[in-house]
């Protein structure tokens, strides 16, 4: 037993203490959080815009009077559908690699490439989540807003989206957690995120157990923390229901 403990201690020192190897993990964690955060903002922005386009098209296209507005809506809807199909139909790693090696072949700001790739990917899933939220709101809400004199966009942003957002918060939280974990493929474009950090340590020490378990724990704790945070937010938003 004593020997085993001593062995574990030696492994710990080798993997994390020697040459300050723990810094691969902390630096990697910071980068993972950075990419996740900005990709989340980008994904939410894209997702909400696409959701509004799709929901508007589904709700109002039939009854719209002919004109340039109708044509533009049709085009936007087609673009949105293509975007959703392509993004949801291909693996995120492939999207990341295409972004890095093809679209941004001349740029070497990898962080921005990763944020764009993950953000655009997440946006597709957020769009469908938010759209289902918008569809779940009674159409009387839109009518009430319009009857007071709000225009379509004011009613959407002031009345429909806040309620839709509340309804889909659990699904959005799930998407956020998925995003956080998906950034672990950032290593494919040589970004040193949390997972890549562990990988580098393994390359130096030829010992896989501790670095892998360490990052697994870190991901797990992060996810548990954010789940708790979203739970609190949900309870606060629900205050109007009791």
């Amino acid at each position: 037993m004593k020997e085993w403990l001593a062995g574990q201690k030696a492994l710990f020192v080798l993997n994390f203490i020697n040459d300050d190897r723990w810094r691969y993990l902390t630096d990697g964690l910071v980068l993972t959080l950075e990419i996740t955060f900005f990709a989340l903002i980008l994904g939410l922005t894209i997702g909400i815009i696409i959701a509004i386009i799709r929901a508007t098209h589904d709700n109002a296209y039939e009854t719209m009077s002919p004109g340039p507005g109708k044509v533009i809506l049709k085009l936007l809807n087609i673009v949105s559908k293509v975007y959703l199909t392509v993004i949801r139909g291909t693996p995120v790693v492939v999207q990341l690699l295409i972004m890095y090696y093809i679209i941004f072949a001349t740029s070497n700001n990898k962080i921005i490439v990763a944020v764009l790739a993950f953000g655009i990917n997440s946006g597709a899933y957020v769009a469908e989540i938010v759209r289902s939220g918008i569809m779940s709101i009674d159409k009387g809400q839109m009518e009430a807003g319009r009857s007071l004199g709000f225009n379509y966009v004011q009613t959407m942003t002031g009345i429909i989206i806040p309620q839709a957002f509340k309804n889909v918060l659990p699904a959005l939280a799930n998407e956020f957690i998925t995003l956080l974990k998906e950034t672990s493929v950032s290593g494919y474009i040589a970004l040193q995120d949390l997972t890549k950090g562990a990988y580098i340590i393994i390359g130096r020490t030829y010992s896989a157990f501790m670095p892998l378990i360490a990052i697994a724990l870190i991901y797990l704790i992060l996810v548990m923390f954010f789940t708790w945070l979203v739970g609190r937010l949900e309870r606060r938003l629900r205050s109007s229901d009791h």
């Binding site: 009857s147 004199g149 709000f150 225009n151 009345i159 109007s240």
Partner: protein, 249 residues
């Protein structure tokens, strides 16, 4: 185009043909509504009375005909419908309060966001109106904690907060428990007494008799009879109206 001073809403040849339907929901409706009028629209279900009301503020877009409100043509796309709706309050059968906002926010949101009142002014107006409908203590409640009758009274206040020139009521008591209908009708009666122009789609014949200045009977997308409540109920000329009244009275 009309310029008579006291005409608030004029409707000409109004038609509405829903895409998937074979019959016209509205088939040539002509009405003039003067300032101060309380027009009650009755008729069997499917007669087009709600569609007619919803066309007045363009929640339903007519497929034919014209509507003027305060001399401006609502059905003309060049006119700003959002501006015109600010002057047309609407009350729905299912209340449609905003559940994520408090009663105060429900009432003050539109006047403040649309730049009609400052926040303090809107707050004062909300308090004053809530006082009038007997719900001053509900200002910080959320809609989900209110009874149907309370919700509808607050929906009326929300529309009134915009200082509209006309109030449209789309079956305002149809979703209420019987014992709550009275409290909503009382608010509407008081409004009528204060001179508010109202168009009311309802099944409440008592309300029509008591406060209407005119009663309209609709069937199959047309107006079959239109008269003062006295004449309307006591001497119905139209055969179809007679049989309708015999069933509902």
């Amino acid at each position: 185009m009309t310029t008579e001073n006291n005409v608030l809403i004029e409707v000409k040849d109004l038609e509405k043909h829903f895409k998937k339907s074979t019959v016209k929901a509205l088939n040539g409706v002509d009405v003039k509504i003067n300032k101060g009028d309380v027009v009650v629209v009755i008729g069997p279900s499917g007669s087009g009375k709600s569609t007619f009301l919803r066309c007045l503020n363009l929640l339903e877009v007519p497929t034919g005909g014209h509507i003027w409100f305060e001399g401006q043509e609502i059905t003309d796309k060049k006119n700003n419908i959002n501006k015109m709706r600010q002057k047309m309050g609407m009350v729905f059968q299912s209340f449609n309060l905003f559940p994520h906002k408090s009663v105060r926010e429900n009432i003050t949101m539109a006047p403040v966001k649309l730049g009609i009142m400052k926040k303090e002014e809107a707050n004062r107006r909300a308090e004053e109106l809530l006082q009038r409908v007997g719900l001053p203590d509900k200002i910080d409640a959320y809609p989900n904690n209110l009874s149907g009758g309370q919700k509808q009274r607050i929906a009326i206040v929300r529309a009134l907060a915009m200082n509209p020139d006309v109030m449209l009521f789309d079956e305002p008591t149809s979703a209420l428990d019987p014992e709550m209908i009275g409290e909503v009708l009382d608010v509407m009666k008081e409004l009528a007494r204060d001179g508010m122009t109202m168009v009311v789609v309802t099944h409440e014949m008592g309300f029509a008799k008591e406060v209407a200045t005119r009663v309209i009977f609709m069937e199959d997308g047309r107006i079959l009879a239109e008269n003062t409540p006295r004449e309307f109920f006591e001497n119905p000329e139209n055969e179809r109206l007679r049989s309708f009244l015999s069933k509902v009275l």
